[in-house]
Symmetry: C2
Subunit: 318 residues, 2 copies
Protein backbone atom coordinates (compact mmCIF):
# COMPACT_ATOMS: atom_id res chain seq x y z
CA UNK A 1 0.00 0.00 0.00
CA UNK A 2 1.57 3.21 -1.21
CA UNK A 3 0.51 6.00 1.13
CA UNK A 4 2.23 9.34 1.77
CA UNK A 5 4.84 9.43 4.53
CA UNK A 6 3.63 12.74 5.87
CA UNK A 7 0.57 14.97 5.58
CA UNK A 8 -0.36 18.46 6.71
CA UNK A 9 -3.71 18.91 8.40
CA UNK A 10 -4.89 22.52 8.55
CA UNK A 11 -7.17 23.26 11.48
CA UNK A 12 -10.31 25.21 10.58
CA UNK A 13 -12.37 24.44 13.67
CA UNK A 14 -12.56 27.92 15.19
CA UNK A 15 -13.50 29.66 11.94
CA UNK A 16 -15.87 26.94 10.71
CA UNK A 17 -17.33 26.26 14.12
CA UNK A 18 -18.13 29.68 15.46
CA UNK A 19 -19.70 30.84 12.19
CA UNK A 20 -22.39 28.18 12.44
CA UNK A 21 -23.01 27.67 16.15
CA UNK A 22 -26.14 29.37 17.42
CA UNK A 23 -24.20 30.71 20.36
CA UNK A 24 -23.63 33.29 21.62
CA UNK A 25 -20.18 32.00 22.50
CA UNK A 26 -18.02 34.08 24.79
CA UNK A 27 -15.05 35.78 23.16
CA UNK A 28 -12.80 34.40 25.90
CA UNK A 29 -13.86 30.87 24.99
CA UNK A 30 -13.04 31.43 21.33
CA UNK A 31 -9.59 32.64 22.35
CA UNK A 32 -9.18 29.69 24.72
CA UNK A 33 -9.94 27.25 21.89
CA UNK A 34 -7.36 28.83 19.57
CA UNK A 35 -4.74 28.85 22.33
CA UNK A 36 -5.48 25.21 23.19
CA UNK A 37 -5.13 24.24 19.53
CA UNK A 38 -1.72 25.89 19.52
CA UNK A 39 -0.51 23.12 21.84
CA UNK A 40 -1.41 20.24 19.51
CA UNK A 41 1.42 20.36 16.99
CA UNK A 42 -0.62 21.97 14.21
CA UNK A 43 1.28 23.93 11.56
CA UNK A 44 -1.77 25.90 10.37
CA UNK A 45 -4.69 27.24 12.37
CA UNK A 46 -7.44 29.26 10.73
CA UNK A 47 -8.48 31.51 13.58
CA UNK A 48 -11.59 33.22 12.25
CA UNK A 49 -13.37 35.36 9.69
CA UNK A 50 -13.51 39.10 9.04
CA UNK A 51 -17.04 39.12 7.73
CA UNK A 52 -20.18 41.17 8.02
CA UNK A 53 -21.56 40.69 11.54
CA UNK A 54 -25.07 40.97 10.16
CA UNK A 55 -24.57 37.84 8.05
CA UNK A 56 -22.25 35.94 10.40
CA UNK A 57 -22.97 37.10 13.96
CA UNK A 58 -20.67 34.40 15.34
CA UNK A 59 -17.70 36.42 14.09
CA UNK A 60 -18.90 39.86 15.21
CA UNK A 61 -16.09 39.77 17.80
CA UNK A 62 -13.34 38.90 15.30
CA UNK A 63 -11.10 41.81 16.33
CA UNK A 64 -11.16 40.81 19.97
CA UNK A 65 -10.41 37.16 19.20
CA UNK A 66 -7.53 38.04 16.87
CA UNK A 67 -6.16 40.48 19.42
CA UNK A 68 -6.54 38.04 22.26
CA UNK A 69 -5.01 34.76 21.14
CA UNK A 70 -1.36 34.13 21.95
CA UNK A 71 0.57 33.12 18.85
CA UNK A 72 3.03 30.30 19.21
CA UNK A 73 6.29 30.20 17.26
CA UNK A 74 6.21 28.00 14.18
CA UNK A 75 2.46 28.08 13.62
CA UNK A 76 0.81 29.87 10.70
CA UNK A 77 -2.34 31.57 11.92
CA UNK A 78 -4.69 32.62 9.16
CA UNK A 79 -7.97 34.41 8.64
CA UNK A 80 -10.69 34.48 6.04
CA UNK A 81 -12.30 37.47 4.39
CA UNK A 82 -14.37 37.93 1.26
CA UNK A 83 -14.05 41.57 0.32
CA UNK A 84 -11.93 44.70 0.68
CA UNK A 85 -13.53 45.69 3.98
CA UNK A 86 -12.58 42.30 5.42
CA UNK A 87 -9.07 42.58 4.04
CA UNK A 88 -8.57 45.95 5.75
CA UNK A 89 -9.64 44.46 9.05
CA UNK A 90 -7.27 41.51 8.60
CA UNK A 91 -4.35 43.78 7.73
CA UNK A 92 -4.56 45.29 11.23
CA UNK A 93 -3.31 41.90 12.50
CA UNK A 94 -0.61 41.33 9.90
CA UNK A 95 2.05 40.87 12.57
CA UNK A 96 0.25 37.89 14.06
CA UNK A 97 -1.24 36.37 10.90
CA UNK A 98 -0.02 34.79 7.70
CA UNK A 99 -2.17 36.76 5.30
CA UNK A 100 -3.05 35.42 1.88
CA UNK A 101 -6.06 35.67 -0.38
CA UNK A 102 -7.57 32.86 -2.38
CA UNK A 103 -9.47 32.52 -5.61
CA UNK A 104 -12.68 30.86 -4.59
CA UNK A 105 -15.20 29.76 -7.21
CA UNK A 106 -18.18 27.48 -6.85
CA UNK A 107 -18.38 24.57 -9.29
CA UNK A 108 -22.13 24.91 -8.82
CA UNK A 109 -23.64 28.09 -10.17
CA UNK A 110 -26.92 27.66 -8.22
CA UNK A 111 -24.89 27.48 -4.98
CA UNK A 112 -23.02 30.69 -5.84
CA UNK A 113 -26.26 32.44 -6.67
CA UNK A 114 -27.80 31.36 -3.39
CA UNK A 115 -24.67 31.89 -1.29
CA UNK A 116 -23.13 34.98 -2.89
CA UNK A 117 -25.89 36.29 -5.13
CA UNK A 118 -23.55 35.85 -8.12
CA UNK A 119 -23.71 33.75 -11.25
CA UNK A 120 -20.50 32.36 -12.77
CA UNK A 121 -19.70 35.58 -14.66
CA UNK A 122 -20.40 37.55 -11.51
CA UNK A 123 -18.12 35.26 -9.48
CA UNK A 124 -15.30 35.69 -12.00
CA UNK A 125 -15.74 39.45 -12.05
CA UNK A 126 -15.74 39.63 -8.23
CA UNK A 127 -12.69 37.38 -7.94
CA UNK A 128 -10.81 39.42 -10.55
CA UNK A 129 -11.41 42.56 -8.49
CA UNK A 130 -10.55 40.67 -5.27
CA UNK A 131 -7.21 39.50 -6.71
CA UNK A 132 -6.40 43.05 -7.83
CA UNK A 133 -7.12 44.41 -4.37
CA UNK A 134 -4.76 41.83 -2.87
CA UNK A 135 -2.01 42.64 -5.37
CA UNK A 136 -2.40 46.32 -4.49
CA UNK A 137 -2.07 45.45 -0.80
CA UNK A 138 1.04 43.38 -1.51
CA UNK A 139 -0.58 40.12 -0.41
CA UNK A 140 -0.12 36.78 -2.14
CA UNK A 141 -2.92 34.60 -3.49
CA UNK A 142 -2.35 31.31 -1.70
CA UNK A 143 -4.66 28.95 -3.47
CA UNK A 144 -7.68 28.22 -5.59
CA UNK A 145 -10.73 26.86 -3.78
CA UNK A 146 -13.36 24.97 -5.76
CA UNK A 147 -16.54 25.01 -3.69
CA UNK A 148 -19.20 22.32 -4.17
CA UNK A 149 -16.68 20.25 -6.10
CA UNK A 150 -18.49 16.94 -5.57
CA UNK A 151 -22.16 17.84 -5.58
CA UNK A 152 -24.56 20.55 -4.50
CA UNK A 153 -27.82 20.72 -2.55
CA UNK A 154 -29.16 23.16 -5.16
CA UNK A 155 -27.61 21.82 -8.39
CA UNK A 156 -27.42 18.09 -7.64
CA UNK A 157 -24.48 16.12 -8.99
CA UNK A 158 -21.46 18.09 -10.21
CA UNK A 159 -19.59 16.67 -13.18
CA UNK A 160 -15.81 16.48 -13.24
CA UNK A 161 -16.01 18.59 -16.42
CA UNK A 162 -17.57 21.34 -14.28
CA UNK A 163 -14.74 21.01 -11.73
CA UNK A 164 -12.14 21.30 -14.50
CA UNK A 165 -13.97 24.31 -15.98
CA UNK A 166 -13.98 25.96 -12.55
CA UNK A 167 -10.25 25.40 -12.04
CA UNK A 168 -9.63 26.73 -15.57
CA UNK A 169 -11.63 29.89 -14.76
CA UNK A 170 -9.65 30.39 -11.55
CA UNK A 171 -6.33 29.87 -13.31
CA UNK A 172 -7.40 32.39 -15.96
CA UNK A 173 -8.08 34.96 -13.25
CA UNK A 174 -4.60 34.32 -11.83
CA UNK A 175 -2.98 34.47 -15.25
CA UNK A 176 -4.71 37.74 -16.11
CA UNK A 177 -3.30 39.17 -12.90
CA UNK A 178 0.18 37.74 -13.66
CA UNK A 179 0.02 35.60 -10.54
CA UNK A 180 1.12 31.99 -10.26
CA UNK A 181 -1.07 29.72 -8.16
CA UNK A 182 -0.14 26.06 -7.74
CA UNK A 183 -2.51 24.92 -5.03
CA UNK A 184 -6.11 23.87 -5.53
CA UNK A 185 -8.44 22.86 -2.74
CA UNK A 186 -11.41 20.75 -3.77
CA UNK A 187 -14.11 21.49 -1.21
CA UNK A 188 -17.06 19.22 -0.48
CA UNK A 189 -19.10 22.13 0.84
CA UNK A 190 -22.31 20.15 1.28
CA UNK A 191 -21.31 16.56 1.93
CA UNK A 192 -21.74 14.95 -1.49
CA UNK A 193 -18.31 13.37 -1.83
CA UNK A 194 -17.70 9.65 -2.03
CA UNK A 195 -14.32 8.01 -2.56
CA UNK A 196 -15.28 7.43 -6.18
CA UNK A 197 -16.14 11.12 -6.73
CA UNK A 198 -12.92 12.14 -4.99
CA UNK A 199 -10.94 9.89 -7.32
CA UNK A 200 -12.75 11.17 -10.40
CA UNK A 201 -12.32 14.86 -9.57
CA UNK A 202 -8.67 14.49 -8.60
CA UNK A 203 -8.02 12.45 -11.74
CA UNK A 204 -9.66 15.00 -14.00
CA UNK A 205 -7.76 17.95 -12.50
CA UNK A 206 -4.45 16.08 -12.58
CA UNK A 207 -4.96 14.98 -16.17
CA UNK A 208 -5.23 18.58 -17.25
CA UNK A 209 -2.75 20.18 -14.79
CA UNK A 210 -0.27 17.60 -13.47
CA UNK A 211 1.67 20.43 -11.80
CA UNK A 212 -1.13 21.54 -9.47
CA UNK A 213 -1.03 20.43 -5.86
CA UNK A 214 -4.47 19.27 -4.77
CA UNK A 215 -5.81 19.57 -1.21
CA UNK A 216 -9.12 18.31 0.15
CA UNK A 217 -11.65 20.11 2.32
CA UNK A 218 -14.17 17.48 3.36
CA UNK A 219 -17.35 17.49 5.40
CA UNK A 220 -18.71 14.48 7.23
CA UNK A 221 -22.33 15.30 6.50
CA UNK A 222 -23.28 11.71 5.71
CA UNK A 223 -20.49 9.79 7.43
CA UNK A 224 -18.35 9.48 4.29
CA UNK A 225 -15.68 12.07 5.14
CA UNK A 226 -12.93 9.84 6.49
CA UNK A 227 -13.41 7.33 3.66
CA UNK A 228 -13.02 10.22 1.21
CA UNK A 229 -9.89 11.40 3.01
CA UNK A 230 -8.52 7.86 2.81
CA UNK A 231 -9.12 7.87 -0.94
CA UNK A 232 -7.24 11.17 -1.09
CA UNK A 233 -4.32 9.63 0.80
CA UNK A 234 -4.31 6.66 -1.56
CA UNK A 235 -4.05 9.12 -4.45
CA UNK A 236 -1.15 10.94 -2.81
CA UNK A 237 -2.98 13.97 -1.42
CA UNK A 238 -0.92 15.34 1.48
CA UNK A 239 -2.90 18.43 2.46
CA UNK A 240 -6.27 18.38 4.22
CA UNK A 241 -8.50 20.80 6.09
CA UNK A 242 -10.27 19.56 9.20
CA UNK A 243 -12.00 20.89 12.30
CA UNK A 244 -11.42 19.70 15.84
CA UNK A 245 -14.34 17.66 17.16
CA UNK A 246 -16.02 17.91 13.76
CA UNK A 247 -17.05 21.52 14.37
CA UNK A 248 -18.57 23.42 11.50
CA UNK A 249 -20.87 22.88 8.61
CA UNK A 250 -21.86 25.23 5.84
CA UNK A 251 -24.30 27.94 6.93
CA UNK A 252 -25.56 28.30 3.36
CA UNK A 253 -26.17 24.62 2.60
CA UNK A 254 -29.86 24.81 3.45
CA UNK A 255 -29.40 21.94 5.88
CA UNK A 256 -29.26 23.05 9.50
CA UNK A 257 -28.08 20.51 12.06
CA UNK A 258 -26.01 18.50 9.59
CA UNK A 259 -22.60 17.36 10.85
CA UNK A 260 -19.65 19.60 10.06
CA UNK A 261 -16.12 19.19 8.80
CA UNK A 262 -14.22 15.97 9.16
CA UNK A 263 -12.83 15.88 12.69
CA UNK A 264 -9.14 16.69 12.94
CA UNK A 265 -8.60 13.92 15.49
CA UNK A 266 -10.34 11.29 13.33
CA UNK A 267 -8.27 12.24 10.30
CA UNK A 268 -5.08 12.32 12.39
CA UNK A 269 -5.95 8.92 13.86
CA UNK A 270 -6.51 7.49 10.35
CA UNK A 271 -3.10 8.79 9.30
CA UNK A 272 -1.07 7.96 12.39
CA UNK A 273 -2.53 4.46 12.73
CA UNK A 274 -1.50 3.80 9.11
CA UNK A 275 2.03 5.09 9.68
CA UNK A 276 1.49 8.50 8.09
CA UNK A 277 3.04 11.26 10.14
CA UNK A 278 0.88 14.30 10.93
CA UNK A 279 3.06 16.00 13.54
CA UNK A 280 -0.02 16.14 15.77
CA UNK A 281 -0.37 15.19 19.41
CA UNK A 282 -3.51 13.08 19.21
CA UNK A 283 -4.17 12.97 22.95
CA UNK A 284 -3.88 16.75 23.19
CA UNK A 285 -6.16 17.15 20.18
CA UNK A 286 -8.85 14.99 21.77
CA UNK A 287 -8.62 17.07 24.94
CA UNK A 288 -9.18 20.18 22.80
CA UNK A 289 -12.16 18.48 21.10
CA UNK A 290 -13.63 17.96 24.59
CA UNK A 291 -13.00 21.64 25.35
CA UNK A 292 -14.77 22.55 22.08
CA UNK A 293 -17.81 20.51 23.19
CA UNK A 294 -17.92 22.35 26.50
CA UNK A 295 -17.62 25.70 24.69
CA UNK A 296 -20.40 25.09 22.16
CA UNK A 297 -22.54 23.47 24.83
CA UNK A 298 -23.57 20.35 22.92
CA UNK A 299 -21.99 17.11 21.79
CA UNK A 300 -19.89 17.19 18.64
CA UNK A 301 -20.03 14.44 16.01
CA UNK A 302 -16.48 13.08 16.33
CA UNK A 303 -16.42 9.41 17.37
CA UNK A 304 -12.70 9.55 18.19
CA UNK A 305 -13.48 12.30 20.69
CA UNK A 306 -15.83 9.92 22.50
CA UNK A 307 -13.61 6.84 22.34
CA UNK A 308 -10.13 8.30 22.63
CA UNK A 309 -7.00 6.98 21.02
CA UNK A 310 -5.54 3.49 21.16
CA UNK A 311 -2.46 4.66 23.06
CA UNK A 312 -3.70 3.90 26.58
CA UNK A 313 -4.90 0.44 25.56
CA UNK A 314 -1.53 -0.25 23.94
CA UNK A 315 0.31 0.92 27.06
CA UNK A 316 -1.85 -1.20 29.36
CA UNK A 317 -1.49 -4.25 27.11
CA UNK A 318 2.30 -3.98 26.89
CA UNK B 1 -12.04 1.82 -10.05
CA UNK B 2 -12.94 -1.83 -9.75
CA UNK B 3 -15.63 -2.16 -7.11
CA UNK B 4 -18.19 -4.95 -6.65
CA UNK B 5 -21.49 -4.58 -8.51
CA UNK B 6 -23.54 -5.80 -5.59
CA UNK B 7 -23.08 -6.32 -1.85
CA UNK B 8 -25.12 -7.89 0.93
CA UNK B 9 -25.48 -5.91 4.14
CA UNK B 10 -26.67 -7.98 7.09
CA UNK B 11 -28.57 -5.99 9.68
CA UNK B 12 -27.46 -6.60 13.27
CA UNK B 13 -28.98 -3.51 14.88
CA UNK B 14 -31.62 -5.15 17.06
CA UNK B 15 -29.28 -7.79 18.50
CA UNK B 16 -26.26 -5.50 18.86
CA UNK B 17 -28.29 -2.54 20.04
CA UNK B 18 -30.54 -4.00 22.69
CA UNK B 19 -27.72 -5.97 24.33
CA UNK B 20 -25.83 -2.77 25.13
CA UNK B 21 -28.50 -0.13 25.73
CA UNK B 22 -29.09 0.63 29.39
CA UNK B 23 -32.84 0.47 28.78
CA UNK B 24 -35.14 -1.00 29.83
CA UNK B 25 -36.60 -0.98 26.33
CA UNK B 26 -40.16 -2.17 25.88
CA UNK B 27 -40.58 -5.53 24.18
CA UNK B 28 -43.13 -3.97 21.83
CA UNK B 29 -40.52 -1.44 20.71
CA UNK B 30 -38.00 -4.18 19.96
CA UNK B 31 -40.62 -5.93 17.85
CA UNK B 32 -41.52 -2.66 16.12
CA UNK B 33 -37.88 -2.11 15.16
CA UNK B 34 -37.54 -5.58 13.65
CA UNK B 35 -40.80 -5.18 11.75
CA UNK B 36 -39.75 -1.75 10.47
CA UNK B 37 -36.43 -3.17 9.29
CA UNK B 38 -38.37 -5.80 7.34
CA UNK B 39 -39.58 -3.00 5.06
CA UNK B 40 -36.11 -1.80 4.02
CA UNK B 41 -35.10 -4.41 1.47
CA UNK B 42 -32.72 -6.27 3.79
CA UNK B 43 -32.02 -9.92 3.01
CA UNK B 44 -30.72 -10.76 6.50
CA UNK B 45 -31.86 -9.44 9.87
CA UNK B 46 -30.32 -10.66 13.10
CA UNK B 47 -33.25 -10.34 15.47
CA UNK B 48 -31.70 -11.01 18.87
CA UNK B 49 -29.81 -13.26 21.25
CA UNK B 50 -30.77 -16.27 23.34
CA UNK B 51 -28.38 -15.55 26.16
CA UNK B 52 -28.32 -15.59 29.92
CA UNK B 53 -30.55 -12.76 31.15
CA UNK B 54 -28.21 -12.25 34.11
CA UNK B 55 -25.34 -11.31 31.78
CA UNK B 56 -27.39 -9.61 29.03
CA UNK B 57 -30.55 -8.25 30.63
CA UNK B 58 -31.45 -6.46 27.37
CA UNK B 59 -32.34 -9.84 25.87
CA UNK B 60 -34.24 -11.25 28.85
CA UNK B 61 -37.39 -10.93 26.71
CA UNK B 62 -35.95 -12.79 23.70
CA UNK B 63 -38.83 -15.30 23.51
CA UNK B 64 -41.44 -12.55 23.37
CA UNK B 65 -39.56 -10.61 20.68
CA UNK B 66 -39.03 -13.70 18.53
CA UNK B 67 -42.68 -14.65 18.96
CA UNK B 68 -43.90 -11.16 18.22
CA UNK B 69 -42.16 -10.02 15.05
CA UNK B 70 -43.91 -10.63 11.75
CA UNK B 71 -41.61 -12.37 9.30
CA UNK B 72 -41.64 -11.14 5.75
CA UNK B 73 -41.19 -13.47 2.80
CA UNK B 74 -37.68 -13.50 1.34
CA UNK B 75 -35.87 -12.33 4.47
CA UNK B 76 -33.58 -14.55 6.54
CA UNK B 77 -34.14 -13.81 10.22
CA UNK B 78 -31.40 -15.13 12.48
CA UNK B 79 -30.51 -15.33 16.13
CA UNK B 80 -27.37 -15.69 18.20
CA UNK B 81 -26.64 -18.11 21.03
CA UNK B 82 -23.47 -19.29 22.66
CA UNK B 83 -24.31 -22.61 24.30
CA UNK B 84 -26.68 -25.56 24.24
CA UNK B 85 -29.24 -23.82 26.44
CA UNK B 86 -29.39 -20.97 23.96
CA UNK B 87 -29.65 -23.36 21.03
CA UNK B 88 -32.63 -25.11 22.63
CA UNK B 89 -34.40 -21.77 23.03
CA UNK B 90 -33.66 -20.84 19.41
CA UNK B 91 -34.96 -24.18 18.13
CA UNK B 92 -38.40 -23.28 19.46
CA UNK B 93 -38.52 -20.64 16.70
CA UNK B 94 -37.12 -22.76 13.88
CA UNK B 95 -40.14 -22.07 11.68
CA UNK B 96 -39.47 -18.34 11.69
CA UNK B 97 -35.68 -18.33 11.81
CA UNK B 98 -32.80 -19.43 9.62
CA UNK B 99 -30.82 -21.26 12.25
CA UNK B 100 -27.09 -21.79 11.91
CA UNK B 101 -24.21 -21.94 14.34
CA UNK B 102 -20.82 -20.36 13.87
CA UNK B 103 -17.30 -21.08 14.96
CA UNK B 104 -16.28 -17.98 16.84
CA UNK B 105 -12.72 -17.56 18.09
CA UNK B 106 -10.99 -14.48 19.37
CA UNK B 107 -7.70 -13.59 17.72
CA UNK B 108 -6.86 -12.02 21.07
CA UNK B 109 -6.50 -14.47 23.93
CA UNK B 110 -6.76 -11.75 26.63
CA UNK B 111 -10.12 -10.69 25.14
CA UNK B 112 -11.40 -14.27 25.23
CA UNK B 113 -10.25 -14.68 28.82
CA UNK B 114 -11.98 -11.46 29.83
CA UNK B 115 -15.10 -11.98 27.72
CA UNK B 116 -15.61 -15.75 27.95
CA UNK B 117 -13.25 -16.79 30.73
CA UNK B 118 -11.45 -19.08 28.25
CA UNK B 119 -7.90 -19.18 26.95
CA UNK B 120 -7.24 -20.33 23.38
CA UNK B 121 -7.29 -24.04 24.28
CA UNK B 122 -10.47 -23.45 26.24
CA UNK B 123 -12.04 -21.63 23.29
CA UNK B 124 -11.16 -24.47 20.91
CA UNK B 125 -12.52 -27.05 23.32
CA UNK B 126 -15.76 -25.12 23.80
CA UNK B 127 -16.19 -24.58 20.05
CA UNK B 128 -15.54 -28.26 19.33
CA UNK B 129 -18.35 -29.17 21.74
CA UNK B 130 -20.56 -26.40 20.30
CA UNK B 131 -20.09 -27.72 16.74
CA UNK B 132 -20.93 -31.25 17.88
CA UNK B 133 -24.12 -30.06 19.57
CA UNK B 134 -25.14 -28.34 16.34
CA UNK B 135 -24.42 -31.43 14.25
CA UNK B 136 -26.51 -33.48 16.64
CA UNK B 137 -29.35 -30.98 16.28
CA UNK B 138 -29.06 -31.11 12.48
CA UNK B 139 -28.03 -27.48 12.19
CA UNK B 140 -25.36 -26.17 9.80
CA UNK B 141 -22.33 -24.17 10.83
CA UNK B 142 -22.67 -21.01 8.75
CA UNK B 143 -19.36 -19.28 9.22
CA UNK B 144 -16.20 -18.66 11.14
CA UNK B 145 -16.04 -15.41 13.11
CA UNK B 146 -12.64 -14.03 14.09
CA UNK B 147 -13.23 -11.61 16.96
CA UNK B 148 -10.73 -8.83 17.69
CA UNK B 149 -9.18 -9.40 14.27
CA UNK B 150 -7.60 -5.94 14.04
CA UNK B 151 -6.63 -5.08 17.58
CA UNK B 152 -7.77 -5.50 21.17
CA UNK B 153 -8.27 -3.22 24.16
CA UNK B 154 -6.61 -5.87 26.36
CA UNK B 155 -3.92 -7.27 24.02
CA UNK B 156 -3.09 -4.22 21.91
CA UNK B 157 -2.22 -4.73 18.24
CA UNK B 158 -3.13 -8.08 16.69
CA UNK B 159 -0.74 -9.42 14.06
CA UNK B 160 -1.99 -10.87 10.80
CA UNK B 161 -0.15 -14.07 11.81
CA UNK B 162 -2.48 -14.26 14.80
CA UNK B 163 -5.50 -13.81 12.51
CA UNK B 164 -4.28 -16.60 10.23
CA UNK B 165 -3.62 -18.85 13.25
CA UNK B 166 -7.16 -18.19 14.49
CA UNK B 167 -8.72 -19.05 11.13
CA UNK B 168 -6.56 -22.19 10.99
CA UNK B 169 -7.79 -23.22 14.45
CA UNK B 170 -11.40 -22.66 13.38
CA UNK B 171 -10.94 -24.62 10.15
CA UNK B 172 -9.38 -27.45 12.15
CA UNK B 173 -12.46 -27.57 14.39
CA UNK B 174 -14.64 -27.75 11.27
CA UNK B 175 -12.45 -30.40 9.66
CA UNK B 176 -12.45 -32.56 12.79
CA UNK B 177 -16.25 -32.42 12.72
CA UNK B 178 -16.29 -33.25 8.97
CA UNK B 179 -17.94 -29.91 8.23
CA UNK B 180 -17.09 -27.58 5.38
CA UNK B 181 -17.10 -23.86 6.19
CA UNK B 182 -16.29 -21.37 3.45
CA UNK B 183 -17.20 -18.06 5.08
CA UNK B 184 -15.03 -16.09 7.47
CA UNK B 185 -16.09 -12.87 9.14
CA UNK B 186 -13.26 -10.67 10.37
CA UNK B 187 -14.72 -8.70 13.26
CA UNK B 188 -13.32 -5.45 14.57
CA UNK B 189 -14.87 -6.01 17.98
CA UNK B 190 -13.25 -2.99 19.63
CA UNK B 191 -12.66 -0.41 16.89
CA UNK B 192 -8.99 -0.92 16.07
CA UNK B 193 -9.32 -1.37 12.30
CA UNK B 194 -7.83 0.98 9.76
CA UNK B 195 -7.96 0.49 6.00
CA UNK B 196 -4.34 -0.67 6.13
CA UNK B 197 -5.09 -3.29 8.81
CA UNK B 198 -8.16 -4.43 6.84
CA UNK B 199 -6.00 -4.86 3.73
CA UNK B 200 -3.29 -6.74 5.63
CA UNK B 201 -5.66 -9.14 7.37
CA UNK B 202 -7.66 -9.86 4.21
CA UNK B 203 -4.44 -10.32 2.25
CA UNK B 204 -3.00 -12.76 4.79
CA UNK B 205 -6.16 -14.89 4.97
CA UNK B 206 -6.54 -14.93 1.17
CA UNK B 207 -2.91 -15.87 0.64
CA UNK B 208 -3.41 -18.98 2.72
CA UNK B 209 -7.01 -19.83 1.77
CA UNK B 210 -7.96 -18.23 -1.57
CA UNK B 211 -11.23 -20.20 -1.51
CA UNK B 212 -12.61 -18.59 1.66
CA UNK B 213 -15.20 -15.85 1.33
CA UNK B 214 -14.36 -12.99 3.68
CA UNK B 215 -16.97 -10.73 5.31
CA UNK B 216 -16.36 -7.70 7.52
CA UNK B 217 -17.99 -6.80 10.82
CA UNK B 218 -16.84 -3.27 11.60
CA UNK B 219 -17.38 -0.86 14.45
CA UNK B 220 -17.18 2.90 14.13
CA UNK B 221 -15.59 3.39 17.53
CA UNK B 222 -13.09 5.98 16.29
CA UNK B 223 -14.75 7.16 13.08
CA UNK B 224 -12.79 4.81 10.81
CA UNK B 225 -15.55 2.27 10.10
CA UNK B 226 -16.76 3.50 6.72
CA UNK B 227 -13.18 4.00 5.48
CA UNK B 228 -12.47 0.39 6.47
CA UNK B 229 -15.62 -0.78 4.69
CA UNK B 230 -14.50 1.13 1.60
CA UNK B 231 -11.15 -0.67 1.73
CA UNK B 232 -13.08 -3.94 1.95
CA UNK B 233 -15.09 -2.98 -1.14
CA UNK B 234 -11.88 -2.12 -2.99
CA UNK B 235 -10.60 -5.60 -2.17
CA UNK B 236 -13.78 -7.23 -3.42
CA UNK B 237 -15.53 -7.92 -0.11
CA UNK B 238 -19.27 -8.21 -0.80
CA UNK B 239 -20.64 -9.11 2.61
CA UNK B 240 -20.84 -6.74 5.57
CA UNK B 241 -22.57 -6.57 8.93
CA UNK B 242 -23.99 -3.23 10.03
CA UNK B 243 -26.50 -1.81 12.50
CA UNK B 244 -29.19 0.74 11.72
CA UNK B 245 -28.38 4.16 13.18
CA UNK B 246 -25.02 2.84 14.38
CA UNK B 247 -26.65 0.95 17.25
CA UNK B 248 -24.50 -1.38 19.28
CA UNK B 249 -21.03 -1.61 20.59
CA UNK B 250 -19.32 -4.43 22.44
CA UNK B 251 -20.46 -4.79 26.07
CA UNK B 252 -17.17 -6.49 26.95
CA UNK B 253 -14.80 -3.98 25.37
CA UNK B 254 -14.20 -2.12 28.63
CA UNK B 255 -15.23 1.10 26.92
CA UNK B 256 -18.76 2.21 27.79
CA UNK B 257 -20.28 4.98 25.68
CA UNK B 258 -18.15 4.24 22.62
CA UNK B 259 -19.97 4.37 19.28
CA UNK B 260 -21.29 1.09 17.97
CA UNK B 261 -21.38 -0.76 14.67
CA UNK B 262 -21.05 1.00 11.37
CA UNK B 263 -24.46 2.42 10.52
CA UNK B 264 -26.35 0.43 7.91
CA UNK B 265 -27.54 3.61 6.20
CA UNK B 266 -24.01 5.09 6.00
CA UNK B 267 -22.62 1.89 4.49
CA UNK B 268 -25.58 1.66 2.09
CA UNK B 269 -25.08 5.29 1.11
CA UNK B 270 -21.36 4.67 0.45
CA UNK B 271 -22.27 1.74 -1.78
CA UNK B 272 -25.26 3.17 -3.63
CA UNK B 273 -23.56 6.53 -4.28
CA UNK B 274 -20.66 4.62 -5.86
CA UNK B 275 -22.95 2.53 -8.05
CA UNK B 276 -22.83 -0.61 -5.89
CA UNK B 277 -26.25 -2.14 -5.49
CA UNK B 278 -27.37 -3.05 -1.95
CA UNK B 279 -31.04 -3.75 -2.60
CA UNK B 280 -31.84 -1.40 0.27
CA UNK B 281 -34.36 1.41 0.40
CA UNK B 282 -32.16 4.15 1.85
CA UNK B 283 -34.99 6.52 2.70
CA UNK B 284 -36.86 3.77 4.54
CA UNK B 285 -33.68 2.79 6.36
CA UNK B 286 -33.13 6.34 7.59
CA UNK B 287 -36.71 6.44 8.85
CA UNK B 288 -36.00 3.25 10.79
CA UNK B 289 -32.81 4.80 12.18
CA UNK B 290 -34.95 7.67 13.47
CA UNK B 291 -37.34 5.15 15.00
CA UNK B 292 -34.34 3.43 16.65
CA UNK B 293 -33.32 6.78 18.19
CA UNK B 294 -36.78 7.27 19.62
CA UNK B 295 -36.77 3.73 21.00
CA UNK B 296 -33.39 3.95 22.74
CA UNK B 297 -34.16 7.48 23.90
CA UNK B 298 -30.91 9.14 22.89
CA UNK B 299 -29.23 10.23 19.69
CA UNK B 300 -27.38 7.60 17.68
CA UNK B 301 -24.00 8.25 16.06
CA UNK B 302 -25.00 7.94 12.38
CA UNK B 303 -24.40 11.16 10.44
CA UNK B 304 -26.50 9.97 7.50
CA UNK B 305 -29.42 9.65 9.90
CA UNK B 306 -29.08 13.32 10.74
CA UNK B 307 -28.51 14.59 7.20
CA UNK B 308 -30.63 12.24 5.12
CA UNK B 309 -29.88 11.04 1.62
CA UNK B 310 -29.09 13.07 -1.48
CA UNK B 311 -32.28 11.96 -3.24
CA UNK B 312 -34.45 14.94 -2.27
CA UNK B 313 -31.73 17.41 -3.27
CA UNK B 314 -31.34 15.64 -6.60
CA UNK B 315 -35.09 15.72 -7.21
CA UNK B 316 -35.35 19.40 -6.33
CA UNK B 317 -32.35 20.26 -8.49
CA UNK B 318 -33.65 18.39 -11.52
Amino acid sequence: MDLPKRVIISEEGPREGFQIEKGPIRTADKIALVDALSGCGLAHIQVGSFVNAKHVPGWADAEEVFAGFVPREGIDYSAVWFNEAGLRRALAFKDKLTLAGFISLSASEPFAIRNLNRDRAGQIEAMTRYVQVHRDAGLPIGKIIVMAAFGCNFAGDISTAKVVETVADALAIARDACIEVNDVTLADSMGWATPRRVASAIGAVRDRWPELKIALHLHDTRGQGIACAYEGLRLGVTSFDAAVGGLGGCPFAGQPGAPGNIATEELALLCEEMGISTGLDLEALIEVARLAERIVGHSLPSAALRSGTLATFRRNAA
